[in-house]
Amino acid sequence: MPALIPASLEVLEIDHISKRYGDVVAVHDLSLDVSAGELFGFVGRNGAGKTTTMRIVLGVLAADAGEVRFRGAPLTFERRRQIGYMPEERGLYPKMHVAEQLAYLGELHGMTDAAARSSTRHWLERFDLQGREDAELQSLSHGNQQRIQLAAALVFSPNLLVLDEPFAGLDPLAVDVMSAVLREQADAGIPVIFSSHELELVERLCDRVGIIDHGKMVASGTVDELRAGGRERRWVDAPAARADWDPRVPGTRLVQRDGPRWLFELDEGDDDQALLQAALATGPVREFERVQPTLGELFRTVIGEAGA
């Protein structure tokens, strides 16, 4: 069991790290914190710098500038060994037996032979793979190989989890198992940071989200906090309105029209009552619905602004 840490304490601190590959800036002055028991989702386009950031945390890559701290102290090699890591490029020994492979990785992370074997049994059961202990990894289905890859990150009871695209290529059932395991780990006090393109999943699962673009953190916070910075939207169902209806309300823009339903976006802090009155002026209003932007919409907005 990990030591009990106050939930407010920031356990993983990524402090102004930068990394260049020749002329290409992969990560620029990026900072983020993850607290104990927190699930942190890392989203961004391909090549935004997520993988580079994670590799720097793991020490597989060295940062040009900045520092990564864990529980207040710089991450040394010995402390890094306690991080559970799932790289973007999956990889295990294809011809090695499943249980032997997990126990091997457990021992490499400093477990005793006996502890590694018992933990291997535990995780194979957790992922419903008991009975496949002596199978060669390459004989398993893609989904099961992914489970073994996650088990490889968990087998030595890490005190921090860094997972690069853990949901990529998983079937819906495997996504559920993976989500449940990540939530459990976070609830046990282990900070979990993972990247994903599945924005709905990130929205549902994560306590906090960071959006990265061109190597910079362009927004971070809880999904609600991010929404607070986004624009409000309203669906208006006004069947009597003409097809070219324009409510002419300042601070309100038409986003899309779907038959008698119209979607408007309001400027920040704008009152929606003027829009409602303009709609009522066209005739009956069957529906006037407040729409929360999804993480996907927020993402597009933020990335669009950052790119502009």
Binding site: R55, L58, G59, V60, L61, F77, R80, R81, I83, Y85, P87, E89, R90, G91, L92, Y93, P94, K95, M96, H97, A99, E100, Y104, L105, E107, L108, H109, G110, M111, T112, D113, A114, A115, D134, A152
Partner: protein, 396 residues
């Protein structure tokens, strides 16, 4: 072999290098390459030794049959043959035609016909030279007796001038050269096989992308050391099995008179293998870390393989004159010493300082190569994809 095999550790935390080496040993021991390779090499060596003993005629006596008047020669022939070191059995053949049929069929090696003073030897394709000499001497003695001369008196009158050597050379005959060459080839094969195994193991980890998982928990130099040690131990085990089989075969066939097949020589060969393996494995691992696909391994290690092939050719070139300048110089150079030195030592007497110099240079180059390989491997291990340039890996 199940997963519990070689279960060391139990409740102790083990150094990562040891954990890596143990995995290599476990995986290689159950591989077909090891099992099949060991069987093939053992069979080849044992068959080679048995064949050599048959050629040398030390186990199967030459069967000589005497017919008619020549039968009077049997006793003096047997005694002379024994004095010449030939292993023979004699028998009486009643009928010349039947005797010739036996020679044709291969149940008799030599048939002697004619009288005791004018015998003729009949054989299928050749008469062993010692048998021919023994028969001639026996016939000569019979002719002398026939002429009324005492063979002993004639022998003393015709004695050759005795020769006294002040610094005689140890006899190292053709059989010994042959055995040295065979051992050199075996060493060469083992070096190539296990050195390549290291190169492929390095690339396997890049190709399967497990490298990133590994490097997040183990320093590259330790990963490399564990791999080289593990694969080296398996290679050593294979050579020890083959060497033990060779010693048993040598003992059974009474070939122990060949110095190259003695216990000390075989133990020495295994030590040279270890040194050679460390030289080639570290060099192979350094260049193999530059590439990410198994198909590229051969071209990556080609610059190192050239030294190995040159060592093979030099082995043939130096055997006719194992103490000549070419053999002497090349056998102390680290890339060639692991093959040339044991061959030279088996084929001739090598001054101790040359052996010491060769071993010292190898140890020094192992030190340098380990440093170089560790540095290149560390820089290149995470660069998956296109081939990494040598200087980029060196500089980092």
């Amino acid at each position: 072999m199940n997963a519990r095999f070689l279960r060391l550790g139990g409740t102790r935390r083990l150094p990562t290098t040891f954990v890596v080496a143990r995995r290599e040993v476990r995986m290689r021991l159950r591989s077909r390459v090891f099992v099949g390779g060991t069987i093939v090499m053992t069979v080849l060596v044992v068959v080679g030794i048995v064949a050599a003993s048959l050629l040398a005629g030390r186990t199967t006596p030459v069967r000589v049959g005497f017919s008619g008047g020549s039968q009077a020669l049997e006793r003096s022939f047997t005694a002379t043959a024994a004095a010449l070191g030939a292993n023979v059995t004699v028998s009486d053949i009643a009928d010349v035609t039947a005797g010739e049929a036996e020679v044709t069929a291969g149940t008799l090696d030599v048939l002697v016909i004619g009288t005791s003073t004018a015998p003729t030897a009949v054989a299928k394709d050749a008469v062993p030279s010692t048998v021919e000499s023994a028969l001639s001497l026996a016939a000569e003695a019979a002719r002398l007796s026939d002429a009324g001369l005492a063979p002993a008196a004639v022998k003393s009158a015709m004695a050759l001038v005795p020769i006294q050597l002040l610094a005689p050379k140890t006899p190292k005959d053709n059989e010994n050269l042959f055995a040295s060459l065979a051992l050199g080839i075996l060493l060469w094969i083992a070096l190539g096989q296990w050195g390549n195994m290291v190169a492929q193991g390095v690339v396997e980890e890049k190709a399967t992308r497990i490298m990133e998982v590994l490097l997040a928990t183990i320093q590259p130099s330790r990963l490399l050391a564990g791999k080289v040690i593990g694969i080296g131990l398996v290679g050593l085990l294979q050579l020890t099995i083959v060497g033990a089989a060779a010693l048993v075969a040598v003992h059974v066939t009474n070939l122990a008179a060949i110095p190259a097949l003695g216990l000390a020589s075989i133990l020495g060969d295994i030590s040279w293998f270890l040194l050679g393996f460390l030289v080639y494995a570290t060099a192979y691992s350094a260049v193999a870390s530059l590439v990410s696909r198994q198909e590229e391994v051969q071209s990556a290690v080609a610059p190192i393989s050239i030294f190995q092939i040159a060592g093979y050719l030099l082995m043939y070139a130096s055997l006719p004159n194992p103490s000549g300048p070419l053999a002497t110089v090349c056998s102390v150079l680290p890339p060639f010493a692991p093959i040339l030195m044991p061959v030279r030592m088996a084929a001739s007497d090598v001054p101790f300082w040359q052996i010491g110099l060769a071993a010292g240079l190898i140890l020094a180059s192992i030190g340098g190569l380990t440093w170089l390989a560790g540095r290149m491997y560390t820089h290149a291990a995470m660069r998956i994809g296109a081939r990494v340039r040598f200087m980029d890996a060196f500089r980092g």
